[in-house]
C-alpha cells in the first residue's frame, strides 16, 4: 500500500496497449463472426456439423480476443490473469455443458408426450 513512487503511466499494463494489436483483434473477430453468419444464413450444413463449425469459429474469436484485446501472455505482469482464466474456463464449460447434457436426458425421461406432438392440450373441458 505504499504510494507508488514511479509514474503510473510507466506501468507495464499501460505500456502494453498497442494500436496494431487492437485493430487486428477487431478485424479478425469481425471476420470470424462474418464467416459464422454466412454459415448460418446459407444453412447448407446439417445442424451438428454447423454447430461444430460455428463453435470452432467462436473459440477462434475468443482466443484472438484473449491474446489481442486483453493481451494475455505468461509474462510476469499477466501470469495470474492468464492462469485464473485457464482455471475458470473449465468451470464455465462444466456448469453449462453438464447441465445441458443432464437436461437432455431429464427431458426425455420426464416428458409425458413425445416431443413431436406438443400442441395446446385439447383434452381439458
Amino acid at each position: 500500500m505504499s504510494a507508488p513512487h514511479s509514474d503510473p503511466l510507466a506501468h507495464p499494463e499501460v505500456q502494453q496497449g498497442n494500436a496494431l494489436r487492437y485493430i487486428s483483434g477487431f478485424i479478425t473477430t469481425l471476420l470470424l463472426m462474418f464467416a459464422a453468419l454466412m454459415l448460418t444464413i446459407r444453412q447448407h450444413l446439417p445442424y451438428v456439423s454447423y454447430a461444430e463449425a460455428v463453435t470452432g469459429l467462436a473459440v477462434l474469436s475468443l482466443v484472438t480476443q484473449a491474446t489481442l484485446f486483453f493481451g494475455l501472455d505468461i509474462s510476469r505482469a499477466h501470469i495470474w490473469k492468464s492462469l485464473s482464466l485457464l482455471l475458470t474456463i473449465p468451470l464455465f464449460i462444466i456448469s453449462v455443458g453438464l447441465t445441458v447434457w443432464m437436461f437432455q436426458s431429464l427431458a426425455t425421461r420426464t416428458m409425458l408426450m413425445p416431443a413431436g406432438m406438443l400442441q395446446q392440450p385439447t383434452l381439458l373441458q
Binding site: L112, M113, P121
Partner: protein
Amino acid sequence: MKIISALTWLLVLGLASCASGDYRLFHPVNLVAGVEWWSTLFEVGIMSLIIVPVALLIVWCLWRYRKGAGAAYDPEFTHSLVLEILVWGVPLIIVAICGFVSIRTIHAVDPYSPGVLAKAEAAAAPIDIDVVTTDWQWLFIYPAQHVASIDEMVVPQGRVVHLRLTSTSVTNDFYIPQIAPMIDIMPGMRTEDAFDAAKLGVFTGFSADFSGAGFSWMQFATRIVPPADFSSWVARAAASPNALSYGAFTKLAQPTVNEGAKISYFSAPDPQLFDKVVMAADSGVVYPVSNELTRSVANLEIGPAKPTGAATK
C-alpha cells in the same frame, strides 16, 4: 484416562438406545430393496477397512506420544514417499471398487427399469398404477382395473408394479422404505418407478421431499395382499358411489390435510386423468395455497381455497 472413560460411557449409551425402534431399512422385503441393502452393507464394510484402522491409529498415537510418556520424538519425520503412495493408492483402490459396485447397482435398481426385475417382469405382466400427489394427499389410479383410491395402494403379491407419477402442485418424493427406490414426483412431468411385491404385509409410504404446510400428514399405506384379496379389494373399490372425473379431481386436489390418512375409493376414474393432470400443470394450472390457509392449517379448519383453475398469467 478421563477421555477413555467418557468415550466408553458414550458407546454404552449409544448401543443401548440403538436397541429400541424398528429399523425398516435393515429388513428389505423385495429384490430391489435387497440390492440397496446389500450395497449399503458392502459400502460400510469396504469403507471401514480404512476408517477403523485410521481411527485406531490416531487413538494409539494420542496415547503413545502424549507429552511426558517418553516415547520416541522425531521432529524430522515429515515426509516419506512410501507413505504418500500408500495414502493416495489405497483410497484410490477402495474408490475404484466402490465405483464399480455403484455403477452396477445403479442399473440394477434404476427406478425407471430396474435391471434386477428384468426376469420377474418377463414372467408376469407388471401392474400399472398412476400416482398423482395433490397438496398433501396421494391418489392411486389403477387404469387397468378402473378404480382409484386415496392414501392406500394395494398390490397383489408376486407381481412387479410399474408406477407413473406426477404432482399437481409441488415436488414430492415417492418413498416406501423397505420396498421402492425413491423417485421425485414433479408437477408437469411424468416420472416412473418400479418395484416387485415379494412379501405380504402393510408398509407405510411417505413423501420424502418437503411439500408445504400439510407435508407431515402425507403418508399412505401400501398393502401387499394375496391375488385373491386384491381382486376382492378392486371389486369393493369399484362399488364405491363416487366416480372420479377430471372436474371432480380438481375439487379434490384443492389443498387439504388428510389427518390420519383416511382412505377413500373411487370407481370408474377418467381413463386419461393422469395425462390431463400433467398437461394441465404444463399449461400453468396451479392450486395456490393462500397465506391464511398455511397459517390456519394447524387447527385443520380447512376451507378449500377458491378453486382457481387458471394460473395467474
